[in-house]
Amino acid sequence: MTGRGRILVVDDDATLRETLAEILSEDGFEVRGARNGQEALEQLEEWRADLVVLDLMMPVMDADAFSAAQQKAGRAIPMLIVSAAPHLLEAADRLGAVGVVAKPFRIHELREQVTRGLGLRQSSDSPE
């Protein structure tokens, strides 16, 4: 289960970020973490991710500012919004995100969205 893709988890909550990174690595993804949009931008300078799992409200740099900076840098990495904020669908529209997951969530909900966001087939629904 290696080489499924690179995921950057951006969340200011350390417990959530670390646990989510662990689970996704064990699922076979290459995972890194960032505490806010600013740290995420710095990581992406040198490490090209296939998907950014992004919290909306973070200190230093929030999702909107991060998304704007990404565009400015000419990078179009798919974003998956994972947040406890209200009006998630509106935010996803605004940011052009590939999906949303509301906190709190069960891991299978997030896995489905990650799989979809990466354009991968889910192992459970691919009989051929």
């Binding site: 909550d13 417990t15 689970i23 406890a84 209200p86 509301a102 906190k103 709190p104 969530f105 069960r106």
Partner: protein
């Protein structure tokens, strides 16, 4: 008013001359008869003459309509019958006549009484009349009934009050919605961490990769998440207690130095001795002791939160002429509010990233102090790093606006 009428009279008389009422005066000056007819025809104003000793001398249709007396019922009566019993007893009738003499005229809006005893809101103009030698011959009195206008103004005022109350209620509702929305957001985050740790344990157990160290690690994270939830729930409980006992301060006389000293000692017992220095002047004051305890507690917690282990938090208590001042000074990073109100719910400085709690502690302190009729302010220290929070409490709680 009577002066104006005298000035206007010639024009009115010219019109009158074209009517069947003919003036016998060749130079068209109004004779008494014509003038009386004119005055008498006015129905919207009570216009009448008063003798120098304050009795009714003439009466028009307007006067009859507004006040309810016929001419034969009122002429010769003292004008005090038009006044309310209170005003009459206070000597207003004579006072108003004197004021008219003194100032050349007298105007007021006040309650007057009709024949049937009902009251109306009167707009009155009282003018002294003098003969060619300047001797007082009486007074001209013009009265208008403004009851309806006053009622509609009263209605407008009432509407404005209701509009204001409604907008305040809507504001409170919006604030409440915002509060609930943020509180729920803050609680979802640790619940998400907890859920994820549980899922991680389940996954590893399924795969048979759950060793003791992994389990310990995940349990530790779960403990961190529930600790955060406990803090948040504690703050929410404090806020709800605040609105429960909203109007009920349990006020008693308290030696504030003892109270503040006790709170400081509690923090020292938790195992951070030496970090809190107190300089407390005795002040006996009327407060709700348990609430002020919470204020001091929240301020010290806030100061410690933004201090390093080596820093000292200074607490001073001093007596003033009208109450007491508590100051809590830290040596932390200071305030950088960036337009945020510290004392509003969830208000945090722009330089605060590592948040513990929801940012409700200062809001709660502010509410309690405000309810005592006191004030709470924050400022950066003039010299060196850090901030000072200053609480003024009046000698006893004073009434203040809600909020």
């Amino acid at each position: 008013m009577a002066i104006h009428q005298e000035a206007r009279a010639p024009r009115a008389t010219r019109q009158a001359a074209r009517s069947p009422i003919r003036s016998p005066d060749p130079d068209h000056r109004p004779d008494e008869h014509t003038f009386q007819l004119l005055v008498d025809a006015v129905v919207d104003y009570a216009i009448y003459l008063i003798s120098p000793d304050g009795r009714v001398q003439s009466w028009n249709r307007g006067a009859e309509r507004i006040k309810g007396y016929r001419a034969d019922q009122i002429i010769g009566q003292p004008i005090s019958v038009f006044y309310t019993p209170e005003d009459a007893a206070a000597g207003r009738p004579a006072h108003n006549l004197r004021a008219a003499i003194e100032h050349g005229h007298f105007t007021e809006q006040a309650w007057r009484v009709r024949k049937d005893g009902t009251r109306f809101w009167a707009d009155i103009v009282l003018t002294p009349l003098r003969d060619e030698q300047g001797a007082l011959t009486g007074f001209a009195k013009v009265t208008r009934d403004l009851t309806e206008r006053r009622a509609s103004e009263e209605h407008e005022r009432q509407l404005a009050v209701e509009r204001e109350a409604r907008s305040a209620a809507e504001g409170a509702l919006r604030a409440r919605e915002r509060f609930l929305s943020i509180a729920s957001h803050e609680l979802r985050t640790p619940v998400a961490s907890l859920q994820l740790a549980i899922d991680a344990i389940l996954i590893r157990r399924e795969r048979g990769t759950l060793d003791t160290q992994r389990l310990d690690d995940l349990l530790h994270r779960m403990e961190r998440a529930t600790a955060r939830m406990r803090t948040l729930l504690g703050e929410l409980l404090d806020v709800s207690r605040l609105s429960d006992g909203e109007r009920n301060l349990e006020v008693e006389q308290v030696e504030l130095a003892e109270l503040v000293g006790d709170v400081a000692d509690r923090f020292a017992e938790v195992g951070r001795p030496g970090r809190i220095a107190t300089r407390l002047e005795p002040v006996a004051i009327d407060v709700d002791a348990s609430r002020i305890d919470q204020v001091v507690c929240n301020l010290i917690e806030n100061a410690l939160k933004y201090s390093s282990d080596a820093d000292t938090v200074d607490i001073t208590l001093s007596k003033t002429d009208d109450g007491a001042v508590i100051e809590v000074t830290d040596a932390g990073r200071g305030l950088d509010m960036g337009g945020v109100d510290l004392f509003q719910p969830f208000g945090r400085g722009a330089n605060v990233n590592d948040t513990q709690g929801m940012g409700l502690g200062l809001f709660i302190a502010h509410q309690i102090v405000h309810r005592h009729g006191g004030t709470i302010t924050a400022a950066n220290r003039a010299t060196g790093a850090g901030a000072t929070f200053r609480v003024f409490l009046p000698q006893r709680p004073t009434p203040q606006s809600a909020g």
